[in-house]
């Protein structure tokens, strides 16, 4: 496959780590990145090391950001849901020698998108339809290429589907939910299902140890809190930093989640693996240790053509960090998306749609 020139929208945790991991991969060249304050574009390839060094630990964050984000750490790009530009301090990408300040970072990337094969949206999903509306803007500019996000919430998929005709007309292959979960783990579930002719249950159970990554991922933690009993997106959004710290203290730093609204369910249903209601997602987050509090496991229970009921399992080693399991798969699915885009497959795809059929 020819070299893939890609852009990253958002330089929070996910955006920065994607740039970093891409340097270890063949055939990927980062040519553009942006955040709320600026944009860096170099079609011959960004100096990723310089960019990362300049932006590391230098990102605006805090309760002003919407908690329902792309898991990028409550940071990143530029515009609030109502389209009004927000100007932060001189943080982020403008601190890089490659960064230029701009009030229209996304439009600046769109203006250069003829020379961009794929766009990874590591944006805070300020409203549920923020990322779908960014996709719309690329489509309205007749972008032909891949867009990929690492969103988690089920309801965003439907909003992308609502825009599928527009995306197809433009020539966009949109891969949604392509991080760790959904993404890596729904892909594993789709593959593990191949032994069976009927899938009864998919259980996705994750462990994350986030001590050293906590600062970078406060937004994700806030989003996760919305999944706790007695909380929802609105209540989690309204919590102050102090309230969040108090809640974490109460739990000794370890939060356990069950039956989360994660898009794994709708993504597995649309790939024909099982009904959404047969997918269960939960996990344990420890913000005071980098050790995983539990092993990330996908268990697929089904019945074989010869009538046996069994469970296939996929386990990630505890030493593999959340970042490794989000950004590796995101780039893997980005490559698969480009393969499909170049073959003329346009529209909205879940990770499991890119696996063997069921």
């Amino acid at each position: 496959m020819d070299d893939i020139r890609f852009a990253v929208l958002g330089t929070g945790g996910i955006g920065r780590r994607t740039l970093e991991v891409s340097q270890h991969k063949d055939g990927l060249t980062a040519v553009a990145a942006c955040d709320r304050n600026g944009v860096a574009i170099d079609h011959s390839g960004l100096d990723v090391d310089e960019l990362l060094e300049a932006t590391e630990g230098n990102i605006a964050s805090g309760p002003a950001d919407d908690p329902d984000m792309a898991a990028d750490g409550g940071t990143a790009t530029a515009e609030t849901a109502d389209g009004v530009k927000q100007h932060g301090e001189e943080a982020g990408i403008v601190a890089s020698s490659q960064g230029e300040p701009t009030e229209t970072p996304i439009d600046d990337i769109i203006a250069e998108s003829d020379a961009i094969d794929a766009v990874l949206l590591a944006l805070p999903n300020l409203e549920h339809d923020f990322i779908p509306r960014v996709a719309e803007r690329f489509a309205e500019a007749d972008y032909e290429g891949v867009m990929i996000d690492v969103l988690k919430r089920s309801r965003v998929i439907g909003m992308l589907d609502d825009r599928e005709d527009l995306l197809k007309e433009s020539g966009i292959t949109f891969v949604c939910g392509a991080g760790a979960t959904p993404g890596f783990l729904t892909g594993a579930a789709a593959l593990a299902a191949q032994s069976f002719v009927e899938v009864e249950e998919v259980e996705i159970w994750w462990g994350v140890g986030l001590k050293s990554g906590y600062e970078d991922n406060r937004g994700t933690v806030r989003e996760d809190i919305a999944h706790l009993d007695g909380y929802d997106i609105e209540t989690a959004r309204e919590m102050s930093e102090e309230e969040i710290e108090a809640l974490i203290d109460e739990h000794d730093g370890v939060l356990e989640f069950h039956d989360m609204e994660h898009a794994d369910d709708v993504l597995l249903e649309r790939a024909g693996i099982c009904d959404a209601e047969d997918v269960h997602v939960g996990g344990v987050l420890d913000v005071r240790s980098d050790e995983k509090p539990t092993t990330t496991t996908v268990s697929v229970t089904g019945t074989t053509f010869d009538g046996e009921t069994g469970m296939n399992t996929f386990e990630l080693d505890d030493v593999t960090s959340m970042e490794a399991n989000v950004n590796g798969p995101a780039l893997g699915y980005l490559k698969a998306g480009v393969r499909n885009n170049r073959a003329g497959h346009y529209g909205v795809f879940g990770p499991a749609d890119l696996m063997p059929g069921f």
Copy 2:
């Protein structure tokens, strides 16, 4: 995806089980099948139940067949490597009310291939180049569609690659090695690799309990024997049935294999996952029990972008039979092949090529 009309060449163990499993799957219609004696074609869909009932336990088998086969049980279609037709007894597909005797079963299928989206080759690979040469015949007839095999031996992949231009010109998407191993397990390895930026080792370890499937899979057992220390394809081919039984007796029915020549290695290398030499395949076959003597496991050891070395694992439940793990994935990859074929992706693909990029 529109309905897929597919043909099965060979009605040994693999061919029959593929037909059976396809009945549990959405969007698949078996329209043709053949073996050495006959052909059954019905473009509105074969009566699979009748065909299976008529052919079950009614298949020619024995030492006349080449041991290096597609794992379909030493049975199936028609022509020896030198192109001379062999006529067996009135066994196999002609026993079905849908079967017609023919001396040219493969040509008969080729003649109808305009209305066939995919062809699964469950043929004994009488010589290493038998399946590649069958592909050649379809290409020479300008077949446009998917061909898929469940071959195991590494060297066949190169023979298919040698014919890639011809396959591409014709419009054929050839998916090779799409059974359990390679196939299912190389797909799992390609996915498990996504946590890592460098893969150090892939270990594929399989367990098969084959008591009730032994009669159907004598050819596979003979092929496996070629992997034992002190044996090769030629010596295994020349063994009489009695000699094979004596060998199995010596081992109390349990054969253990290490460093097998399985195409997992070249298929993972071509997908960019790791070097072929870093892939190790082995396993344990018990022909006297249906219980698996060991758990089928894929272990992928690699290093993450953040410098941790770990091992991700994929385990198949012991209750999932070899047949479930060969035929489910074969049909899954067949569907993926059709998706690619319809998008104009022609040539030779390994299962891991159909997964997220690495």
